[in-house]
């Protein structure tokens, strides 16, 4: 177990380092002049040269990379061109909203998918099963931003139960939660569709095993067998997919924040693109990618904890 953790941690750190290299390479080595991008094609040669010097673009690439990483390790991600404040300040300010969306979306996804998936497996080859499978097939094909728009049409435009977008801030918790209901629902619809299928097939496989038949023969109540005996053993593939889904959920928050005009990290990155704010884009893309691999790393560790067979091998 100790050896496994050590090896996995080293791998994780190497991955994070590689991500920073990839992001830095794409944003700094690819043809394209950041000074020209910022000032536009009408800028004079002197202005361009001055800005290049100010941005440190005349230093060798490796020196710039080392400086960026060194600063990042001390919490300094550079200064945003457009906001003229440290990037870390902007990120910390917007982080709570994005994390609430992502965590809310993940919790809702897991709950909905477990209920639908286990329910479908319990009603295998009956109408409930077909219904869940049909809905999930549709859910997978629906773009999250379109689902979001349909939710807005129904609940904000027609019924007027919930706000169509915007965020009132955390000072009014009730209004804040109301503003997040539709965004979380839009994220959940698509993700739960994928996870419900995995849950169903994993549960079906476990339900074929002898110990489930024995439990049934001993007269245990159906619900107890499903939730106490089938679910724990069906969890391993489910946890794997949840980890992988976190990547699409993070991407999902970027899209959904733009649909609902929520001032989180996803909206910030688009404002950064519009303002040609390269340090901000670079920091945010790195942050998103690092969140994804961190979650995958944690899932790998949890995976070993819930499956004793893997623990023995590790």
């Amino acid at each position: 177990m100790g050896y496994f953790l050590l090896r996995r941690t080293v791998g994780f750190l190497a991955t994070v380092l590689t991500i920073t290299m990839v992001v830095f390479a794409v944003m700094n080595i690819l043809p394209g002049d950041p000074a020209l991008t910022i000032l536009g094609i009408d800028a004079s040669e002197q202005a361009l040269a001055a800005l290049r010097a100010q941005l440190g673009l005349n230093d060798p690439v490796l020196v710039r990379y080392a400086a960026w990483i060194g600063d990042a390790l001390t919490g300094d991600f550079g200064t945003s061109h457009s906001y003229r404040v440290p990037v870390s300040e902007l990120v910390l300010e917007r982080m709570p909203l994005t994390l609430s969306l992502a965590i809310g979306g993940m919790v809702a996804t897991v709950l909905l998918a477990l209920v639908l998936g286990i329910g479908a497996a319990a009603n295998h080859r009956k109408s409930g099963d077909w219904g869940v499978m049909f809905l999930s097939q549709i859910g997978i094909a629906v773009p999250s931003f379109w689902a979001a728009m349909l939710l807005v049409l129904l609940f904000a435009v027609h019924l007027q139960w919930l706000p169509p977008g915007g965020f009132p801030g955390w000072s009014d918790p009730v209004a804040a939660v109301r503003a997040l209901i539709l965004p979380v629902a839009a994220l959940t619809i698509v993700q739960a569709a994928v996870l419900a299928r995995v849950t169903r097939s994993s549960a079906l496989e476990v339900m074929r095993l002898d110990y489930v038949r024995t439990a049934r023969a001993m007269g245990y109540p159906r619900q107890r067998i499903l939730w106490r005996h089938v679910l724990p053993n069906a969890l391993v593939p489910i946890v794997t997919i949840v980890g992988l889904q976190f990547a699409s959920l993070i991407t999902g928050t970027i899209v959904i924040e733009n649909v609902f005009y929520l001032p989180g990290l996803g909206r910030l990155v688009f404002q950064a693109i519009a303002n040609r704010d390269l340090p901000l884009v670079q920091a945010l893309v790195t942050l998103f990618a690092v969140i994804v691999v961190t979650v995958n790393f944690l899932v790998d560790v949890i995976y070993v904890m819930i499956d004793p067979r893997l623990k023995a091998r590790a």
Binding site: I138, I140, P143, F145, L153, Q282, V285, V292
Partner: protein
């Protein structure tokens, strides 16, 4: 009825034929010029002339949807072909050479999975400015590790076969074997994967163009039609419906077809069906 003709296969094939057919048809014919504006006829209701009505600038919606289908298919096709060929080549190479090279390729592929297409498109847009090519490159990029992994997995199985051992004994080199024996035998899983990736590419293209990182005006795309419709949702909610239905039909078609093809070609499933 042939037992291979599952409902998934039939529905998937019909939807794919429909979307691809409409996209192809738009090359030679659309009911109207898709870009022709007519402010007096804006927000027109469906009629004999404009089957689904007109948008905020009086443009014909059916014509726009048709051209958008073509754009969406083109982006998905180029992206999957680009990412697929690089990925398949890397997968074959990894499997043929083995050792540290294989480990390296697979580790890099793992890292590739940490970058969703959207993150890549965001980086490229920040450097080059948003364009259709940013969308194509971003989607192509995320396809490389997917195909590398599938190809290498399938190729490693083929390398253990007797006929490959025979070819090696006959003095054929690793690259020649990869080309003559491995590639034809990994084609089935690669094609299945390509069909599924095509569905994912359509979704990704829609999201990117919705966010303004894909096709730029005046070239129509389903995603951008939706983002334009969003600002008019209180006035003309119908505009927010049709492009979404098109995306759904296209994605559903390719993913059903991909699932059905996988069931047909996966020997494990075939065996359990016979049992």
């Amino acid at each position: 009825m042939n037992r291979h003709l599952t409902p998934n296969l039939i529905l998937g094939a019909i939807l794919v034929a429909l979307v691809v057919g409409v996209a192809g048809l738009s090359l030679i014919w659309t009911p109207h010029d898709h870009a022709l504006m007519n402010i007096r006829e804006r927000f027109g209701a469906p009629s004999d002339v404009h089957w689904l009505g007109t948008d905020q600038l009086g443009r014909d919606i059916v014509s726009q949807l048709m051209v958008a289908a073509r754009n969406s298919m083109t982006v998905a096709l180029i992206a999957v072909l680009m990412g697929g060929s690089i990925g398949v080549a890397l997968g074959l190479l990894a499997s043929a050479l083995g050792g540290w090279f294989e480990d390296l390729i697979m580790r890099v592929a793992d890292i590739g999975f940490a970058f969703p297409a959207l993150l890549f498109a965001i980086m490229l847009s920040a450097v080059f400015g948003p364009s259709l090519w940013v969308a194509v490159l971003a989607i192509a990029f995320i396809n490389i590790p997917v195909f590398a992994r599938v190809t290498r997995g399938a190729a490693n199985v083929i390398w253990t076969r007797d006929y490959v051992a025979a070819a090696r004994a006959a003095g054929q080199g690793r690259f020649a074997i990869s080309r003559d024996h491995i590639l034809p035998n990994v084609a089935a899983p690669v094609i299945v994967q390509a069909t599924i990736e095509f569905a994912i590419a359509i979704l990704a293209e829609a999201a990117l163009s919705y966010l303004g990182l894909g096709a730029q005006p005046p070239s129509p795309s389903w995603g951008r039609m939706l983002s334009e419709a969003q600002t008019l949702m209180f006035m003309a909610p119908q505009l927010a419906i049709y492009p979404g239905l098109c995306i759904m039909a296209a994605v559903l078609g390719f993913s059903l077809l991909g699932d059905a093809l996988r069931d047909l070609t996966d020997p494990r499933l075939t065996r359990s069906r016979q049992a």
